[in-house]
């Protein structure tokens, strides 16, 4: 048995015993809950610091996080269009990986604890790409908030395996897309720094940032 399957069995095996715990974890695994909670943290970071210089640094981190979230999600969507929607390169290992069925298809519906059964392929976890993309981008500029956000991202991804809709390797795949998204976002901010400065100036002049 592969390490991925063993790890899935261990995490997923924690579920199905205590209904209240299953209910709690399925809420944490929700498609919307954790992403929105993390984005609300970004809104709080935009306004919520007493020192102007620190607030400006946080605002830059928020802009980078938004960009990396969008880029990471875009990378996942792009890969899905190539290998799933357009069905390119059939028979290759990449095609197989991106068309991998959800765990409950392979292992039976009993692995799903208190969650609906998604119909799209399992790899990569789009949620992992988004939440880690956001958290990593913040962590690089603000260790305190970044660590909290990374913790939230980890909890959400753990919950997705617990409820039985992702393998751990799907989460790792999402994490890899997140790293690529963060790198691309930071590169874009560096390459387009005059434009970024102009946007910052406009927002500050309109009393919306700074």
């Amino acid at each position: 048995m592969s390490l991925d399957l063993r790890l899935f069995g261990w995490i997923n095996g924690l579920g199905g015993h205590v209904p209240a715990l299953d209910r709690l974890v399925s809420g944490l695994a929700d498609d919307y809950f954790m992403i929105i909670a993390m984005c609300l943290v970004l809104v709080g970071m935009w306004f919520g610091t007493r020192e102007a210089a620190e607030r400006e640094r946080n605002q830059m981190a928020v802009l980078k996080a938004m960009a990396s979230l969008g880029i990471a999600s875009g990378f996942v969507a792009w890969a899905n269009v190539i290998y799933v929607v357009d069905n390119k390169s059939p028979g290759t290992s990449l095609h197989e990986i991106f068309n991998r069925a959800r765990p409950f298809v392979q292992l039976g519906p009993t692995v799903v604890h208190g969650f609906y059964q998604p119909t799209d392929p399992s790899f990569p976890s789009n949620l992992a790409a988004v939440v880690f993309g956001l958290a990593l981008a913040i962590w690089l500029m603000n260790k305190k908030w970044g660590t909290w956000l990374l913790g939230m991202a980890f909890v959400a991804c753990f919950a997705r395996v617990y409820v039985g809709i992702h393998y751990p390797s799907d989460i790792l795949g999402g994490f890899a897309f997140a790293v690529a998204g963060v790198a691309a976002a930071y590169f874009l901010f560096w390459a387009l720094s005059p434009l970024v400065k102009l946007i910052k100036w406009v927002l500050k002049a309109l009393y919306l940032a700074g």
Partner: protein
């Protein structure tokens, strides 16, 4: 016929999602503004003191208390709805890109509403304040409307 039903429920879900994000953003902005001392962005017009008759003791509600109270009745219920979203709406009908768009629009709407509402609520309280600060920092002394009006409208008309 089925198509009509699906479209209707999708639009209802989108509205529900947007409204919940809007409400949550209002609460988060209030807490953040209270923490960072951005008085011009608060919905509370100042401290409120309540005396419980016949007792002589008074109970005070400061702007910060009010902001936390406001956040408690906006952010927590909204997040609660999202916590049970999948169990109420069995499939993730709002796709990722659509969700991102709705979130940005709702956040912008929440931010704009906060700026206008706080400018209206605080317009008399902060009327005589002056500031040379730029950006959000100015909202520690004046409202957003006062800051924009003094910088862009009054200055341009004086020159």
């Amino acid at each position: 016929m089925d198509q009509v039903v699906i479209e209707t429920s999708k639009s209802v879900l989108s509205w529900e999602y947007s409204l919940l994000v809007f409400v949550a953003v209002l609460g988060v902005i209030q807490v953040a503004a209270a923490n960072s001392g951005l008085k011009g962005l608060l919905f509370s017009p100042g401290a409120v003191r309540i005396r419980f008759w016949p007792s002589q003791s008074r109970w005070g509600l400061t702007s910060i208390h009010f902001s936390y109270l406001f956040a408690a009745v906006t952010v927590l219920p909204a997040l609660g709805f999202f916590f049970v979203w999948n169990s109420h709406n069995a499939t993730g009908i709002i796709q990722g890109s659509e969700q991102a768009g709705l979130f940005v629009l709702s956040t912008a709407a929440g931010g704009i509403f906060s700026l206008f509402a706080s400018s209206f609520i605080n317009q008399w309280r902060l009327q005589s304040n002056q500031t040379r600060a730029q950006g959000l920092e100015a909202l520690k002394e004046v409202t957003w409307y006062q800051a924009v009006w003094r910088r862009w409208v009054r200055n341009s008309s004086e020159s």
